[in-house]
Symmetry: D2
Subunit: 299 residues, 4 copies
């Protein structure tokens, strides 16, 4: 039980679930959302007015311009000693810039990378936190309410100063991309040999205990294959989000080789192309030196 009372901006899928989980743990939450059906107060200003000082506002809205505008608004409403927490998928360098700006008003800033997706409301959210020690310590009841059951250090980490939380989340997502691609390549290798592999879903299912590759993503793939054993209803079209791209940028910036993470992102790029300009160029080249009709070339 905690006597913390925080504000929460953004009550969508993630924020709404987090409010539920926080309240269940005894944290008082005043939530604001543009949607009048879910909001507790009429405006961000009302939210700020409803909070006891020092105020804490957790921002849980889409990363980018929306988060930027909410934090700018909050920066004008909050006072010295207050705290803004960004729990969205913000780029770590934006955290650093914002914290710098807010420090002029002595408003503190914490960035939290939140993992867990729709499962978080039930399982808890993995939390990676960046920011000043004393504020992180003060907010611990909030983090404890959100993180999964079990030892705190298995679902929560104070990674470092401002930016570190989202940096860690960015790397987490980069890894996630490559893990998914790894299972996907294995899936295709099995699926291709229908002559030999008579039970593709059963093979993944049997990897859930005892094997080296067991993981939560594997369990999700098993679920997916139980619902649709040949993935017949799913198109091989995959979006990517900022974190994956930033991971590559950071890798390049720091001269870290990331062949599997980059391969995973490139595979997603290809998956969204109707036709590949690059492969048109290769086809054109083969046609030129081989003298063959396109699509019939050999060299």
């Amino acid at each position: 039980m905690s006597d913390l009372h925080i504000g929460l901006v953004g009550l969508g899928r993630m924020g709404g679930n987090m409010r539920t989980r926080l309240r269940a743990a005894g944290v008082e939450v005043t939530g604001y959302d543009r949607d009048p059906k879910v909001t507790d107060v009429a405006s961000v200003a009302d939210l700020v007015a409803a909070l006891p000082a020092p105020r804490t506002v957790w921002v849980m809205v889409p990363a980018g311009p929306i988060t930027e505008s909410v934090i700018t608004e909050l920066g004008g409403l909050l006072e010295a000693g207050d705290l803004i927490i960004d729990g969205g998928n913000t780029k770590f360098s934006d955290d650093m810039r914002r914290a710098e700006t807010l420090s002029a008003s002595k408003i503190d800033y914490i960035d939290v990378g939140v993992s867990g997706g729709v499962w978080g409301v039930e399982n808890g959210y993995g939390l990676m936190v960046g920011g000043p020690d004393e504020q992180v310590a003060r907010l611990m009841p909030v983090f404890d309410a959100l993180r999964p059951e079990g030892p705190r250090e298995e679902g929560f980490v104070h990674v470092g100063p401002v930016g570190a939380g989202h940096y860690a989340k960015m790397v987490h997502n980069g890894i996630e991309y490559a893990l998914m691609q790894a299972y996907a390549e294995g899936y295709e290798l099995l699926e291709k040999r229908v002559d030999l592999i008579k039970d593709v879903p059963g093979t993944f299912k049997a990897w859930q205990r005892g094997t080296v590759v067991r993981s939560w993503l594997l369990e999700l793939l098993v679920r997916a294959l139980e619902q649709d054993p040949e993935l017949g209803d799913i198109e091989g079209y995959v979006e990517d989000s900022g974190e994956g791209r930033w991971t590559i940028e950071e890798a390049i910036e720091n001269a870290v080789p990331v062949p599997t993470i980059s391969a995973s992102i490139f595979a997603r790029f290809v998956s969204r192309q109707e036709d590949s300009p690059a492969m048109k160029a290769v086809a054109a080249l083969r046609n030129q030196f081989g003298g063959h009709a396109v699509k019939k070339a050999d060299d």
Copy 2:
């Protein structure tokens, strides 16, 4: 409790542990090993003589020539209706060839991919099986004894005909390579930013609950980092085994793109090179067109 009595050739780290686990489950096992300290009988012939018909011999020796010679010897000793199980890391095409040869003597053959390493004796072994239905059914008490606790289908699968078990294990290992490389790239991305990431081991530790990337391999990495937080005692030198290579060969053979699995294997190749001939060639090229001293080139 089972009334099965099987022979087991090879009582090393894997075979020895499996004998222990089988006996604990009430399966009678007569084991043979070249090492007189661990063997139950003096020779393969004695092993065969000790078994009730129809005989079942599980071969658990290093893949390649040793397995080949043991199976050839067994082929000469066993009779119609008997069964050889190869639980080693055999290439699936070798299984097919051997089953064909043994079928002339009406000796059956089952291939089993076994995952779990040194943890298997305690946790059970993930089992991927290829072979004829009736023999797989007859051996089920053996598989049940070896596989992990829990629902059978989460630690055991009858993948298909002969070869399918080792094919599935090969793909499992290919995936495993890419999973390991994914975490490793993430590790380097975190480790490189010592200015920002103040707790690399703690970050991995915190990913164990609630996050998308949680897995058994992650738990092992956490263990490794608890023992040696900067991996200072470990050289970045990594062997690879047959399964990873065969995975690439099969991918090529079946036109399956496997960018992350191949990247993982190439990273291992590079890790073992004192200097890279390829990169010497690149350095030489830059020197030629840039006119710079080698190691000081720009273009």
Copy 3:
């Protein structure tokens, strides 16, 4: 002018052009082809009968079973001291096996990797030769007739013993794949920025002199873009041939990292897929943990 008289089996696009080029250089050629319109003799046996001892027969038919059967037939017709040359795209290990077999009849064997495609009849063919020194020396007038004008060592090489010629050609083709892919990636990078890059064909054209990337493949890409500036008539569908695949297999066998060559081949695999099983699996995974509709997922 040479007094050599050789047989040539296979008078298709490659073989027919080679006969032309050889005769123009004064080498006497008796050609055989199944197509009565182009053949000089009625059968392989007639071809052999038409040649002076020691006989030399250059085989220029599709690699694989057809080459295999022609060489087997020749092996039965030729005598000690005769020579078979395989100029097709044979796998180097097949050369070694055949040479071993033919050596029982004291028939020599030379493998020649031939590059140049349809341009060869005019420009000459790049030749990579494997086989015994004295036979290579004896055939030099043939090689000189086929290779491009200029210094012999810039268009011909005796790489090593039997198999070395096709090994070198295999590596040549592996490199070729990656070179093509490199230009193709550059093409897509330029083509994507229509807002900035106002002349994609002109950019490639301007790289033909003075730049680091100038090459024959670049010239071919310029030709292709002159014929079809947006490659609108070409589908991004690209076949691959044996050499590329064998290059990867050899790389794996010899622990040589080949990230660009493998990436080039995987890109071709993907280019031929209507939908990607692997990306269906990734999409399914994102759907599972993100709880989103497929194609609308984010994490």
Copy 4:
């Protein structure tokens, strides 16, 4: 013969050679360099004073802060109608920003990607130009003096508006990286089979005529191998420059898959590491699940 008179800031290896080539073509050049031994005037201000209006100053200094400061200084000295040309390896987005800033003073800006390295003084430089049509047209005598002999469009291109020249050069260098890596992988494949490939330098030499892979880079590799047939004096340590990295960033930004270009850059990153943190992590993982000593692990 031209009556153009331009200023040139930076008389190092590139700028100095360009002055030579320009003067040989009849372009009047006043050069400035910090090095009193090579400079024509004492300061940038003196350079500007020496030029007829409208003034043209070509900046050929290292990209980054040095170029930035030179252009800022020039911006304060030049007048409406004057022109600054940046011929260095500037990022295209910096060109856009600078042109925007200078436009307030009605100073024009052209960016030129220059390829050719130390060979340019003799062979001419490949030129990729971005900027306004009329200024590009006015400067054509300068471009004609610098570019290689032959048709203008084979060594010069006006790619588009400001930034387009350096964008094209960036892509050129990205391609270059992958081309070099492709030959390098081929080199290692040949070099590894000393049992079979008896003449590695000779093989590359023989690819110079008639083959698909012939190129200027191939010629340079032949030169390097003639000087040092086993590349024994060269360490496999390779720097990378901004253009390669920016190419990846642009690819990510525009969702263009660039597997060979990224693989080339990652190979360079690895080449500079004494030990790989990532591979230490993989070794640690194998040790954990296999229970083997590090460096002796198998799974």
